[in-house]
Symmetry: C2
Subunit: 341 residues, 2 copies
């Protein structure tokens, strides 16, 4: 009988069930070569004892930990946290746990740091959040080290088994369609920083839609930001100073869009009457700012869950989808352009 005070081990199960350790091991690992009767018998004992395999021992024997890593260098706290929740949805009631690791994408030895981290912790797999998910060298590193990985991104960065992707480009196109439909013609864009795939995708979607509608994007109707709030203020200030006046701004993320609100207010422009603003991300600020902001939201939590499942249970249904449709969250920052504006 198991020593009281400590958790039962595989030996306890084996002894009580009257089989060998290895047989119990087979039950745990769902070996197909088990006689039904044996399986039942062992499972019964496992249930009675409340036995759970010791992850530390498995990790040692398998040279692989039952840990999923979350690598991120993301300025958006809510995104990261939503993602964590989604991963937890996937690993709930499993032996997996989630370890997080913020990284510094500007550090020259980021890759080396990650390498030694992976080597040390022997993670089962890692989840890569944008923008570092866009780093192909990092993906290669994971492959080389035999560490599973899934990248989250705004474009087809990798094969389906290593990717959960949103349709940023199309979404931005449909945002512009919407703005044009209600009457806007002179639409400006606050782009995200160069080097970010998401920023590229959103810009490309914007330009494509404008072109499709036969609309021009003059020099002064496009400005670049850093995805930070302050950069949004600056970019919008430049946009609003241009001629002819724009009637709407699409910002590549909500923080910059919030900055655009401030810039508009400073120029005495009312949102949405004199200036429509659309953001991207559906972060909390979009809901809390005044007037509440129309923005594009992606299903981060679902994407995270799917990403985690791709790692721990690739065959399962939840692991299948790789592309996740974003949706337009309509609030009050968009209105038809004012006559004569």
């Amino acid at each position: 009988m198991p020593k009281s005070g400590s958790a039962p081990t595989i030996n306890d199960v084996a002894r009580i069930a009257g089989v060998s350790k290895k047989t119990v091991s087979r039950v745990i690992n769902r070996s197909p070569l088990l006689k039904e009767a044996t399986l039942q018998k062992v499972q019964k004992v496992i249930a009675e004892l409340g036995y759970t395999p010791n992850p530390q021992a498995r990790a040692l024997a398998l040279r692989r930990n039952f840990l999923l890593g979350l690598l991120h260098d993301n300025p958006n706290a809510q995104t990261v946290l939503n993602f964590q929740e989604g991963v937890l949805d996937a690993i709930r009631d499993t032996e997996f746990a989630l370890v997080v690791r913020p990284v510094d994408r500007h550090s020259p030895d980021m890759l080396e740091d990650i390498r030694s981290f992976l080597e040390l912790q022997r993670l089962y797999g890692v989840l890569l959040l944008p923008p570092i998910s866009e780093n192909d060298e990092l993906a290669k590193l994971c492959r080389d080290m035999g560490c599973g990985y899934v990248r989250m991104g705004s474009a087809a960065l990798d094969e389906a088994e290593h990717l959960v992707q949103s349709n940023d480009r199309e979404m931005v196109e449909s945002v512009i369609d919407y703005l044009v439909e209600i009457g806007h013609r002179r639409i400006g864009i606050i782009e995200g920083p160069s080097g970010f795939r998401s920023a590229d995708e959103r810009r490309v979607g914007f330009m494509a839609a404008m072109k499709r509608h036969g609309l021009e994007v003059p020099e002064g109707a496009s400005a670049q930001g850093s995805y930070r709030f302050n950069s949004g203020i600056e970019a919008a200030t430049r946009l609003l100073a241009g001629e002819p006046k724009i009637t709407a701004i699409f910002a590549s993320n909500d923080e910059m869009a919030a900055g655009a609100y401030h810039a508009a207010r400073e120029r005495g422009l009312k949102v949405p009457e004199q200036l429509s603003i659309v953001g991207f991300d559906n972060s909390p600020i979009a809901a809390h700012i005044w007037p509440p902001m129309t923005t594009v939201g992606w299903p981060i939590r679902e994407m995270a869950k799917s990403a985690a499942l791709k790692l721990i249970d690739p065959g399962s249904e939840g692991a299948l989808p790789s592309t996740f449709p974003a949706r337009l969250v309509t609030r009050d920052s968009v209105a038809p352009p004012t006559e004569g504006s």
Copy 2:
């Protein structure tokens, strides 16, 4: 010589250094009973080989993982993420890793869930964020299971070795002092939800300061919210409907304070000219809302670092402080009350 392709083990080090495994183990664990010469010799080999002890093997032998857990049920993403960063500051360049575990404080089997989590993962220690850090049963569970723990809170919830605490009460008092100093007399409060220690502390600080200044808090000048944005709108709406009119609102957190902005706007009140608002937390929304919000910020990252050090290196200097002073972040949501208002 170590087999190429895989990391060197303690056996490699022992063989090359010409000592036993155990001696190497002693070097790793800084045993004091080592001859200086042996120590040097082994350390040299360790350095040459770039040897790192395998955490999985240690975890098995020690029945304890080199993992810190972060348990939270926190509605504020930025707080959680800042805390994560602080923990990372502490464990950088150590063999520790951080595993996160959101929990549901409303679930009836929360404690049971956490128990099995701790049992399974054999965490080195856990960090408890408010509000679940206020749960004494949870702390007891950790003690009973021999799992280290540190609680973060707004009051003296535990002994210094298990606690990092902010001085919420005094900070709120000084906020009120400040408001009174610039002329406010009729000040309202949006309280946090009952059952939250932070909410209690902030309310108590508010009441104490008002009393000290000989000011009354009439029935209609106090309303309770849930710490959520919408509850802030509702609470502030009630507050602003009361008579005599209040000239300032202290909200127990920034989200509710942001809600108060909305309520003020709906009533046509300008912030800060006709209504001053002060929040608590210094979350991103405080900086991004218009006008930028005056609020109270706590040094979460430093608190987190100290909390983690209390777990992994209790003797170190950084592990000492248990009380961390919050500070007032002055922005533009406070002004003297308007004459005759």
